[in-house]
């Protein structure tokens, strides 16, 4: 239970708090990507000791006790995947928000809900 892990849990819950309080769609996207960075920090803080070295063969020889002072390569490989997933999901959310804004002219979740119901009612009459 090192301090980095505690801080990443706090950031995760900060993002969650942000999701619950604001009604702005754009801010939801910002808080969702904040949660993702919190999780990436949590994964990399597994087994952390001060003065860790990257798992590259060249730098491994300088460290005497390779058990402790070499960082875990697996979470790093996974977190590169998580970061790329984070970017593409944020990109898709932004595009969907822009199309939503062009149609409903609002950035508020609840107003978008009301407007989307009106659109579906019109579709029924017209359809």
């Amino acid at each position: 239970m090192n301090s980095i892990e505690l801080i990443s849990i706090i950031v995760f819950f900060l993002g969650l708090y942000g999701l619950l309080t604001n009604r702005n769609i754009v801010k939801t996207i910002v808080f969702a990507s904040m949660m993702e960075v919190g999780i990436i920090m949590f994964w990399l803080s597994i087994g952390f000791t001060e003065g860790m070295v990257a798992p590259i063969v060249a730098s491994m020889f300088e460290v005497d006790n390779y058990q402790v002072y070499i960082s875990d390569p697996l979470p790093q490989a996974l977190m590169i995947t998580a970061i790329v997933i984070g970017i593409s999901i944020t990109a898709i959310k932004t595009i969907m928000f822009i199309t939503l804004y062009r149609k409903f002219k609002t950035t508020d979740w609840d107003i978008a809900k009301i407007k989307s119901k009106e659109v579906s009612k019109e579709a029924i009459q017209k359809g």
Binding site: M1, I4, I7, I9, I10, V11, L14, L16, Y17, G18, L20, T21, N24, V26, K27, V30, S33, M34, V37, G38, M41, L44, S45, I46, G47, F48, V53, P55, I56, V57, A58, Y66, Q67, I70, S71, P73, P75, Q76, A77, L78, M79, I80, T81, I83, V84, I85, G86, I87, S88, I89, T90, A91, T94, I95, M96, I98, T99, T107, D108, I111
Partner: protein
């Protein structure tokens, strides 16, 4: 040392929470992820630090380019929010109830934190056997190109779908307009001159990352992101949109098929098994280099198209 940096990162995230204006919130988010990528260096992972730095830069560019017309108006959102929540007593529903719920869940979370010690079963195996099994000095590169290449195929696939989704979900249908909207601020000579010097350096840095992804920190994704930043300079600063987007899209798909075929041929039929042992390290290095190169080009094409859609077509 790292805990001080991480606590500074925590404060930036707290500030993200309490911002009224949208632009300041986005900039605080960018600052917090830059500090996080600095923190990753102290946690001993240069690869993730590079990926996180370029990722947060791209996300911020996307946010600012797309939400431009929300910054200017005197916080339009708050106006809408006030209009709905006129009454004061609704402050309970808006702030106190969520705070109470999140605090309770946080307390529950901390109560059940697992105390089991860390088990380093896979970590030891990887550090000992990575450079012989897959070759290359960078164990992280060996993992995501050798042991878990099945994951990397799907991650490259995910980027391909993200481009397709962005094109399909946007308001404008798939028309690739040649010249997007010129940015209303004419770019003057000074920024054009300096970017002409800096941009080639970033491309060189990107190609360097792709080339020896297997030897030092770096690799396909980080290098691709760095190369893509050159094309983004062309859109944002030079306002030139002469890149043939349809061809780039086709290039990206063909390269993805090449990546999948390459991976399935080399690793899954035990191709490394048939190579005589003294030629094995050379074959492994060639394989890692080609995979890094393909993924790098694919990531660069993918993000160029993404940014083109935002800057040229979605902005107005």
């Amino acid at each position: 040392m790292t805990t001080t940096i991480m606590s500074f990162w925590l404060f930036c995230n707290i500030f993200v929470l309490f911002q009224k204006k949208l632009l300041s919130m986005i900039l605080w988010l960018f600052l917090s992820s830059i500090i996080a990528s600095l923190g990753f260096l102290f946690l001993g992972s240069p690869d993730v630090a590079m990926a996180e730095a370029t990722a947060s830069a791209f996300v911020t560019i996307i946010f600012i380019v797309c939400f431009e017309n929300f910054f200017g108006i005197k916080n339009l959102q708050n106006f809408i929010e006030e209009e709905n929540s006129k009454t004061r007593e609704n402050i309970f529903k808006k702030i106190i109830l969520p705070a109470f719920v999140v605090l309770c869940t946080f307390a529950l979370f901390m109560n059940f934190l697992p105390q089991a010690p860390q088990d380093t079963y896979l970590k030891n195996l990887y550090i000992l056997r990575a450079s012989t099994d897959v070759g290359g000095q960078n164990v992280v590169g060996a993992i995501y190109l050798g042991y878990r290449v099945y994951d990397t195929i799907f991650e490259a696939l995910l980027l391909l779908i993200a481009v397709v989704a962005v094109v399909h979900l946007s308001h404008f249908d798939g028309v690739y307009k040649k010249d997007g909207k010129q940015s209303e601020v004419k770019n003057n000579a000074i920024s054009l001159f300096t970017v002409r010097i800096v941009a080639p350096i970033t491309v060189l840095f990107g190609i360097y990352l792709i080339a020896n992804g297997a030897i030092t920190a770096g690799g396909g994704f980080q290098g691709g992101l760095a190369v893509a930043s050159f094309f983004i300079c062309r859109f944002l600063i030079f306002d030139i949109y002469d890149i043939p987007i349809k061809k780039v899209n086709k290039l990206e798909d063909t390269i993805f098929v090449a990546v999948v075929i390459m991976a399935s041929l080399m690793v899954f039929h035990g191709f490394f098994g048939e190579i005589p042992p003294n030629y094995l390290p050379i074959a492994q290095n060639i394989y890692l280099f080609i995979m890094n190169l393909l993924i790098g080009i694919k990531v660069a094409c993918g993000f160029t198209i993404l940014l083109y859609r935002y800057v040229a077509i979605e902005r107005n």
